[in-house]
């Protein structure tokens, strides 16, 4: 199979060039070619006008090409200084380590990118964006002039994104060319100068993003969200719709599917639910059949922890759970399944599916007892059930025997979803259901979720993607420090949600939104 054919891409010094495309469009292959990990079959690569005949990882490193991945590849038990030292210093086996210069150098680099990180901090103690900053410091220290960032914001909170963007802007100003890959369109509009769209291994087009007048400082607070819409208007060259059209080659309704269902009976009712080990305190919430409840909040607010309590991974130690009005205790995932609760976890690759196993095995994993009551595996029943879900959810695969790991992110997510749909749940908890999923698949997953709710399923959806939370949910429950602080109606303003998540006072936040509305 040909991953790329006839791709043209150019990067100028001092620009942020976004690379966009659905999963499987060839972004990663292109990156692998640029970093020298893969060899192209044809075509040329020029850097500074000089043609590079044979780009190997070592050569790419010498030429100043650095790649920062979504999951920073640092040694968690070493300090920042040590990590930077390992990357940049002499690699001879018995070279002497000069600790003072090493530390000084690290501190200098961190300062240059404006990162407020102690060089002596253990990497384990750093947050994800801080680790990314360390990676960037390494890249700068190695004299990188081309920095590739592969979905750097996928697991960051909105605040952390602001921090990262500031650094990217600084890189741009110092003349570094940045190749920026992201699925979040609003980031592209906010950050990129130009954008190149790939589809099916070909370049569909390169567009200038905006007429930038100057760099706007990014405030690390809730005002950030307001800016997206304004900027789009100020940008006549490219619209979000056009970008999506370029990506998928067809019109995708970017609008979230409308709510069609009426909330029915209360399926699960939580009363002062707490779990000390999971950091969940006093959560009270009703989940109704046919209703999508969005669970918003910053990372660490206890959203995933609440889901883990409901699913019995870290059982609750106080409070009550009422399922259809009847008191239940859920001490293990098996209990949760028996009570009709399904959980599509956040970390798809580690928890959602088992990558090495065939799709069919993954799909039936939660229903062993029902599908194979006499413990014997019934391959035919398994196969037909899997095929049913493959068709139903439109999974793109060669068949039920294909390994789950061979699928793209969006299709893996559909398999994770299929596993829980197969249990015929009454309540489905979705944790970041569209994280790392391309635009086309994202909209498909949204439609599926809506359809499920319409069929009478109660859905609890955790998401860090605010437009998604606001667009999809019938109600939005906002969590902060382990408890639900506010429940807002669906379609609320994103900043109201964010303000609640940040803990700003209610009245203040209302007034704030009021003024903003009159300004625009």
């Amino acid at each position: 199979m040909q991953a790329l054919r006839g791709v043209s891409f150019d990067l100028r010094a001092g620009e942020v060039h976004a690379l966009l495309g659905e999963n499987g469009a060839g972004k990663s292959t292109l990156i692998k070619i640029i970093t020298g990990a893969h060899q192209p079959d044809g075509g040329t690569i020029e850097i500074d006008g000089r043609q590079i005949a044979h780009l190997t990882p070592a050569v790419a490193h010498q030429l100043g090409i650095a790649c920062i991945y979504q999951q920073p590849a640092l040694f968690p038990d070493l300090t920042v200084t040590e990590n930077i030292g390992i990357r940049l210093e002499d690699t001879r086996p018995f070279a002497c380590v000069k600790w003072t210069t090493r530390r000084q150098h690290a501190a200098e680099l961190l300062q240059r990118i404006g990162a407020d990180i102690s060089p002596d901090a253990e990497v384990r103690s750093l947050s994800m964006p801080e680790q990314q900053l360390v990676e960037i410091a390494c890249a700068i220290g190695a004299g990188a002039r081309i920095v590739i960032m592969d979905e750097p914001t996928a697991s960051l909170t909105q605040q952390e994104v602001g921090l990262l963007f500031a650094v990217v802007r600084e890189l741009r100003q110092s003349g570094v060319g940045v190749i920026y890959i992201s699925h979040r369109l609003e980031e592209i509009f906010e950050l990129a100068d130009r954008v190149t769209v790939l589809r099916d291994g070909e370049t569909v087009g390169t567009r200038a993003v905006k007429c930038r007048t100057g760099f706007q400082p990014v405030a690390a607070d809730s005002h950030e969200f307001a800016q997206t819409d304004d900027r789009q208007d100020a940008c006549p060259t490219l619209t979000e719709t056009e970008l999506i059209r370029l990506m998928v080659g067809r019109e995708v309704s970017n609008i979230y599917p409308p709510a069609e269902s009426d909330a029915g009976d209360v399926v699960l009712s939580l009363k002062n639910l707490s779990c000390a080990a999971g950091g969940v305190k006093n959560v009270s919430l009703d989940l109704r059949a046919g209703e999508i409840v969005g669970l918003a909040g910053l990372i660490g607010a206890g959203r995933t922890e609440l889901a883990r309590v409901l699913f019995g991974i870290t059982p609750a130690d106080e409070g009550e759970m009422l399922l259809y009005g009847k008191l239940v205790t859920i001490n293990s995932p098996q209990d949760a399944i028996a009570h009709g609760i399904g959980y599509v976890p956040e970390d798809r690759r580690r928890h959602g599916v088992i990558l090495e196993m065939p799709i069919a095995h993954n799909v039936t994993m939660a229903i062993h007892r029902r599908l194979f009551p006499r413990i014997w595996i019934r391959s035919e029943a398994e196969r037909s059930l899997t095929l049913e879900y493959i068709n139903n959810l439109d999974v793109k695969t060669s068949g039920p025997a294909a390994a789950a790991g061979s699928l793209s992110g969006g299709n893996q997510q559909k398999i994770a979803l299929a596993r829980w749909l197969a249990t015929k749940p009454k309540l489905l908890i979705l944790d970041e259901p569209t994280q790392g999923v391309d635009v086309g698949a994202k909209s498909e997953i949204h439609k599926i979720i809506r359809r499920l709710a319409k069929e009478g399923l109660a859905v609890l959806m955790i998401s860090s993607d605010l437009p998604e939370i606001v667009g999809m949910s019938d109600r939005v429950a906002v969590m902060r420090s382990g408890t639900i602080v506010e429940i807002l109606p669906g379609g609320s303003d994103s900043h109201e949600v964010m303000a609640a998540a940040l803990g700003q006072r209610k009245e203040l936040n209302r007034r704030d939104a009021e003024t903003r509305r009159t300004v625009t």
């Binding site: 190997t56 991974i313 976890p345 580690r350 959602g352 196993m357 062993h368 595996i377 025997a401």
Partner: protein
């Protein structure tokens, strides 16, 4: 596409092919160079001597599939053998009753491993390293290191030395356990869960699989089968001493890994394990039949077992190695 579809199955199939080839080479060589290798007598001999290792390797397979390991099986065999002797001689039980009690002891030993692994969440390597010493120590304490149980009745000795329908008696036990374990691993939800746990214990937990129960089953099953192996062992030799089954755990693990089961869990098969046992058994026996190696068969079999293991495992990754070398030589001139 098709290659991708059954990739790990293909690797396995290829590995088993390699094993069959190695086994055929072994047999051909010993047939030509050995003295009285292919006689019915010697064949029965090979089977008799490989039953205990075979039983241990069979029940080690699901454990390794879960990503675990059981280092205590050899010591457990010793403890079971000694206790069987105690039950029969000192408690005055008839052999069949003593046998059943021994199986109960085996289940308890396996259960003890399982308890520590699932309840205290200790790594199987550490737990079974501990019980490896513990069980052997108990066996030695019971016999004070010198006591040996002998003069078992003929009815019991026939288990290790008699034949049924032309096959050594204990071969039927091996066959029955092999079929049982094969069905368990390849045809039931237990085997499916074991693989899932081996690939990703957290992933299996999030899928609602009863991870602890599955692990416990695997270790308890090992205990039961080890107890059975201690009976055939005692019967075959006619004595039960505290050093029974010394070093068997490593032979069993060698056979499992030789059979293509990944030590990291998830991938592997019971038929592969059986082929691994056969390859080891034929090698060990064959060396005693070839005049040139007859005098140092013990030493040589150790060396050649290592060679066999490396050859069998390296052969599987040969294509990868060739590709790597080719790429190196290509990128060098640049």
């Amino acid at each position: 596409m098709n290659a991708d579809k059954h990739r790990w199955k293909n690797i396995l199939a290829r590995h088993e092919t390699i094993l069959v080839i190695l086994l055929v080479i072994e047999i051909c060589y010993f047939q030509l160079a050995g003295i009285r290798f292919g006689t019915a007598d010697n064949e029965a001999n090979i089977v008799r001597h490989s039953v205990e290792i075979g039983l241990l390797a069979l029940v080690m397979t699901p454990i390794i599939l879960t990503g675990g390991i059981d280092l205590s099986v050899g010591s457990m065999l010793g403890l079971c053998a000694v206790l069987f002797g105690k039950f029969w001689r000192d408690a005055g039980m008839p052999p069949w009753l003593a046998g059943f009690c021994t199986i109960g002891i085996g289940a308890m030993c396996g259960g003890f491993n399982a308890l520590l692994i699932t309840r205290l969440r200790l790594p199987p390597l550490i737990v079974t390293l501990g019980t490896f010493s513990l069980f052997r120590g108990l066996a030695e304490a019971i016999t004070r290191g010198v006591d040996a149980f002998t003069e078992f009745p003929d009815s019991f000795l026939s288990l290790g030395n008699g034949t049924i329908w032309g096959l050594p008696t204990q071969a039927w036990i091996l066959l029955a356990v092999a079929i049982f374990v094969w069905l368990l691993v390849h045809r039931t939800t237990f085997g499916r869960s074991a693989r899932a746990i081996g690939f990703s214990p957290e992933g299996a937990r999030y899928a609602g699989l009863p991870v602890e129960r599955r692990l416990a089953t695997a270790y308890i099953l090992a205990g039961v089968v080890v107890a059975i192996a201690s009976l055939t062992y005692t019967s075959r030799l006619g004595t039960a001493k505290a050093d029974a089954g010394f070093g068997y755990e490593l032979l069993a693990i060698t056979a499992v890994v030789l059979g293509g089961t990944s030590i990291f869990g998830g991938v592997g098969s019971v038929h592969g394990t059986l082929l691994g046992v056969a390859a080891l058994a034929v090698l060990t026996n064959g060396l005693t039949r070839v005049p040139a190696t007859m005098n140092m068969a013990g030493e040589l079999s150790g060396v050649l077992t290592g060679v066999l293991l490396i050859v069998a495992l390296a052969a599987g990754s040969l294509p990868k190695l060739i590709r790597l070398l080719r790429r190196r030589s290509r990128s060098k001139p640049a």
